[in-house]
Symmetry: C2
Subunit: 181 residues, 2 copies
Amino acid sequence: MQTITTLDFALLGLISQKPCSGYDLRKFFSSTPMTSYSDSPGTIYPALHRLERRGLIRGQTETGKGQRERRLFQLTLRGRTEFRRWQLRPITRADVVRRLDALMLRFAFMDESAGPVATRRFLQAFHKELASYIPTLREYLKNNRSAMPLSGRLALESGILGYETLFRWTKAALAAYHKEN
Amino acid sequence: MQTITTLDFALLGLISQKPCSGYDLRKFFSSTPMTSYSDSPGTIYPALHRLERRGLIRGQTETGKGQRERRLFQLTLRGRTEFRRWQLRPITRADVVRRLDALMLRFAFMDESAGPVATRRFLQAFHKELASYIPTLREYLKNNRSAMPLSGRLALESGILGYETLFRWTKAALAAYHKEN
DNA sequence: TAGTCCATGTAAGATGTTACATGATTCA
DNA sequence: TGAATCATGTAACATCTTACATGGACTA
């Protein structure tokens, strides 16, 4: 059983919202701010075939009224389960350090697929993990400040500012969920 | 002539500061905040061999005083030229949208390898590109706000906040360079 | 009828991940 | 002597990028 990549989950997330063709997905990646994923056919179509082989999605050929035929994919039960399991995985330090993009992707589809309780729990865990990580960055900066060239130091500071912005965002996002319920 | 990856440039940047062994580089990636790059031997050593084959670095075996022998790599003239050329490439929209990590990497090594004038130019171009990109994100949010689920909308807002933080950072960084000179 | 958009695909080549493998040195 | 650290490597496998290829439908 091979691993499911971030791109795979992005595809699953979009398909979970409504059935999509490969072309729909490509257009989504090229025309919305969800641009971290490649919209090239050489990326999307093989990924969809893989997901179908693994039983996470199912494609049905739509014979057109006038249009050229296209394959519409939906999640299978198994796909839905795997996706939710991925969303609900505990948040680790490694996620925060190296996989922020995947964390935000997990969050972006939570409303529809995991519900408000899980979403709040996710934000709380995210908040907590940031709260424990950021001080280690500040500490590193403090200890190495004088040994670093200006550009290197500023680059690190930019990273820290990014994490601090995210930290404030988790608080605001939690507030938004509390207000809603 | 194949392309040089971001990891390759990260290696070149570190080696440009002082000669490094593969092990040094691995430790750097595992023990400093420069953690976006893999510290695994299966990534680092083949990458170093590639760079050597392409004539960008040169390794010398250091026969130890007691220690196990190790290969210390330095930049060749060609390596130094390629690195600087990469740093000085014009900043494009695509860089800002999909390759922020590479942009920050370019910047992080600017002091030593490109000088203060180029560094300021880089920050100005970065600033300008952000200034033109951020409004398109705000516009997208405005037009699609009501159609997006709460979590999706918040995820997008997080991205925008990140870019705005970066925008303020470019201003602060420019100020730091002006003060210095 | 020429160009653009819809729509799906493959092939070659390179890179990255994980796991395995080896061996020297240092220190408790 | 056993464990941890220093140090370098390979192999299998999967994925991604770029480029190429095809063809229907719509519209100016």
